[in-house]
Amino acid sequence: MTDTTQLAIVKRPLRWGRVLDHLVLILGALFMLIPLLMVLQTTTTTDLETIKNGPELVIGDQFDDNFMSAMFQASGFSGENTGIQMLINSLILGIGFALGKIAIGMMAAYALVYFRLRFATFAFWLIFTTLLLPLEVRILPSYEIAQKLGLLNTYTGLIVPLIASATATFFFRQFFRSVPEELVEAARIDGAGPVKFFIDILVPLSQTMIAAMFIIMFVFGWNQYLWPTMVTTEEGMYTLVRGIKQLTQDLEGTNIPKYGRANMLALIAILPPVLVVIFFQSWFVKGLTESDK
C-alpha cells in the first residue's frame, strides 16, 4: 500500500523526447485550427473592416447579421439560392448519394456473394474496374447522358450518376463473405427465403458497416463540386459547396467581396460532415475493426 502511494508521488523525470512529441502535436493542431479561427473571426465583423484590416484578434458584433444574410439572402438573380435552400440541396445530395450507394452496393454484393451466378467473379471485376473510372474521368459522356435523359437541374441527375461506382459494392462483398456459412444454412432451415434472409439477417448484421459507409459516402457526396457545377444551372438547385464560389466571385468585380457571408456559409458547410462523423464515430470504428458475428 505504502509502496504504491510512494510511487505515485515520485515525479517522472522530464524527458525531452516527450516535450518534442507534444510540440509537434501542438503545432499540427494550430496549423489545422488557425485558418478555421480566422474564418470564424471574419464572420463576426463587417466586410468593410475585413477588407481594410484583414483578420484581426478582436471579435466583432456582426455574427448574427452575417448569419441572417448568409442563410436567407439570395446571392443570384433569381432569388432562389438562399443559404437555407443550398443547405437543403446539399443535404439531399449527401444523404441521397449515401443511401443510394449503400442500397445499390449492398444488393449488388448480395447477388454476387449468395447467388450462384454464372459469371459472378467476372461481374465483380467488371464492377470493380469502375473504381478506375471515377466520374471526373467520364464526366463528358455522363453529362451527355444526363442531358439526353432530361436530368439536368434535377436531384436525380445530381445524385444517380455519382452513385455509379464500385466502392460500396466492394466493401459489402468483403463483409458478406466473412459472414459464416452456417448462419446462412441455419436461416435456410428456419425457412428464410432470399428476401427474408437479406432483411432479417444480413441488414441487421451489417449495421456497423452501413454506418461506416454512410459517413464516408455522405462526406464524399457533400463535398462534390465538379459534377453539381455541371448539371445544375438553375440557382435553386445549387449546393452549398458551389454556392460559396458564387459569393466570392464578387472578389473579381468592383464590389466589396461578401467575406462575412461567404465565410459564414463555409462554416455552415463544414458543420454537417463534422456532425455526421461525431455522431457515427463509434459505429465507424466498430464497423471497420470489430467482427461481431
Binding site: E185, A186, R188, I189, D190, L205
Partner: protein
C-alpha cells in the same frame, strides 16, 4: 416422428471429388444414430444431404414416407444443430428460438408459448432477453438446441455440436442431449469424430471411412465385434491392439505360443484384442516387458512391445505393476481375427 431411409446415396462434388460412395441404410422411428469417422470421411456431407443443404448426386432419400430429394430444407420437417451454434447474433435468445416459427406464419402468442416451453426444458428462461454474445458456450449450444426443439421436427440433425465445448461441459451436454432426445422421441442423426460421444449416445453407430460405411451396429457390436481393422483401431481409447501373427493348422501362433484356434487358411493373420481383455498374472503363459505405466486413477495402462509390436494392456487399480518383465495371457473369447490383406474380420 419418422423413419429415414437412404438408398444408394452418392455425393460427387462439382470438382469431381466423390465424397460419399453409394450408401444405403435405414433409421428407425425414434432411433439415435451416430455417424462417426475420421476428419474428411464425408460425415458432414452425408448429413448435409439429409438436411437438404447439399444436392444429392444420386440415390433416393426419404424422410417419413416422403421422397425428399428435391424438397427445400425448410420443408423437410428437420432441425439442425451446428458446430458453431449458428445463432443470429443480432437477435435475442427469444427471437433466435422463435425465428423459424415466425417464418412459418405462426401466431405470435403461440410462438411465445412454444418458446417458453422450450426455454424451460433447456433452462434458458432467465436468458431469453440476452443476445448470443452475452452467453457462455454451453448456453449458446442450448439455445441452438432450443431452436431445434421448438420446431417439433420429425428429424434432428447434429453436426459435431459439442466440439467447441470443454471436456467437462461436453460430458454434461452429452447427457442432456441424449435425455432430451429420449424424452421427445425424435429420430436423430448425430455426427461426431469423437468415438466416446458415439459410444455413449448412440442406439446405433455408423462408422464411415473415406466416404464409405465400414460398419453399422450397436455400440457393443462395434466395440466388441469390429468389422475391420479400421473400426477396431478407430473405436475405443486406447484402441484395440492389432498384432500380426501367423496361422498354421488352424492355430494362431503368437510369440511361440498358441494364442487361439482359428478357422482360417494358413498364412499371416491379424489378431485383435482389447487392452482390457488381456490378463496379467504369474500363471500366465506369455512373457511381456512393460516399458511405461500410465496411471489413470481408476485404472492403469501398461505399454510395451510383444514380438516388436506395440501392445497396450488395461489393468484395474488393484493390480500392482511396475515397468519390467511380467506374464500375460490373452482371453481367447475376446479375440477378433482379421484378414491380413483386406483388414476385414474373418
Amino acid at each position: 416422428m419418422a423413419q429415414v431411409s437412404l438408398q444408394n446415396i452418392r455425393k460427387v462434388y462439382p470438382n469431381g471429388y466423390e465424397a460419399v460412395v453409394p450408401t444405403s441404410f435405414d433409421i428407425k422411428d425414434g432411433e439415435f444414430v451416430v455417424l462417426v469417422g475420421p476428419s474428411g470421411c464425408g460425415k458432414s456431407t452425408l448429413l448435409r444431404m439429409v438436411a437438404g443443404l447439399e444436392d444429392i448426386s444420386e440415390g433416393v432419400l426419404s424422410i417419413g414416407d416422403r421422397n425428399v430429394n428435391h424438397v427445400d430444407p425448410a420443408d423437410r420437417d428437420i432441425a439442425m444443430v451446428f458446430q458453431n451454434y449458428a445463432l443470429y447474433p443480432h437477435m435475442t435468445v427469444r427471437k433466435n428460438i422463435g425465428y423459424g416459427l415466425k417464418n412459418r406464419k405462426i401466431a405470435a402468442s403461440e410462438i411465445e408459448a412454444k418458446v417458453q416451453v422450450a426455454a424451460k426444458m433447456l433452462n434458458l428462461t432467465d436468458f431469453l432477453e440476452r443476445k448470443p454474445s452475452q452467453l457462455s458456450g454451453g448456453q449458446r449450444q442450448r439455445v441452438a438446441m432450443g431452436r431445434a426443439v421448438v420446431r417439433d421436427p420429425a428429424l434432428f440433425l447434429f453436426d459435431e455440436p459439442l466440439s467447441n465445448l470443454d471436456a467437462k461441459l461436453r460430458h454434461q451436454m452429452r447427457i442432456e442431449i441424449k435425455a432430451l432426445q429420449r424424452r421427445l422421441g425424435v429420430t436423430s442423426i448425430y455426427v461426431t469424430h469423437d468415438q466416446v460421444e458415439a459410444m455413449t449416445m448412440a442406439d446405433r453407430i455408423i462408422v464411415l471411412n473415406a466416404g464409405r460405411i465400414e460398419q453399422i451396429g450397436t455400440p457393443a457390436e462395434i466395440y466388441h465385434r469390429p468389422a475391420s481393422t479400421f473400426v477396431a483401431s478407430f473405436m475405443g481409447a486406447p484402441p484395440m491392439n492389432l498384432l500380426k501373427a501367423d496361422c498354421s493348422e488352424k492355430r494362431v501362433i503368437l510369440k511361440g505360443n498358441v494364442a487361439v484356434t482359428a478357422n482360417a487358411a494358413d498364412g499371416p493373420i491379424v489378431l485383435g484384442i482389447r487392452p482390457e481383455d488381456i490378463e496379467v498374472g504369474e500363471a500366465c503363459d506369455i512373457p511381456f516387458t512393460v516399458d511405461i505405466v500410465e496411471e489413470l486413477g481408476a485404472h492403469r495402462l501398461l505399454h510395451g512391445q510383444l514380438d516388436g509390436q506395440d501392445l497396450t494392456i488395461h489393468v484395474g487399480k488393484d493390480v500392482a505393476v511396475s515397468a519390467g518383465p511380467i506374464r500375460i495371457s490373452i482371453n481367447p473369447d475376446a479375440v477378433v481375427l482379421f484378414d491380413a490383406e483386406t483388414g476385414l474380420a474373418l
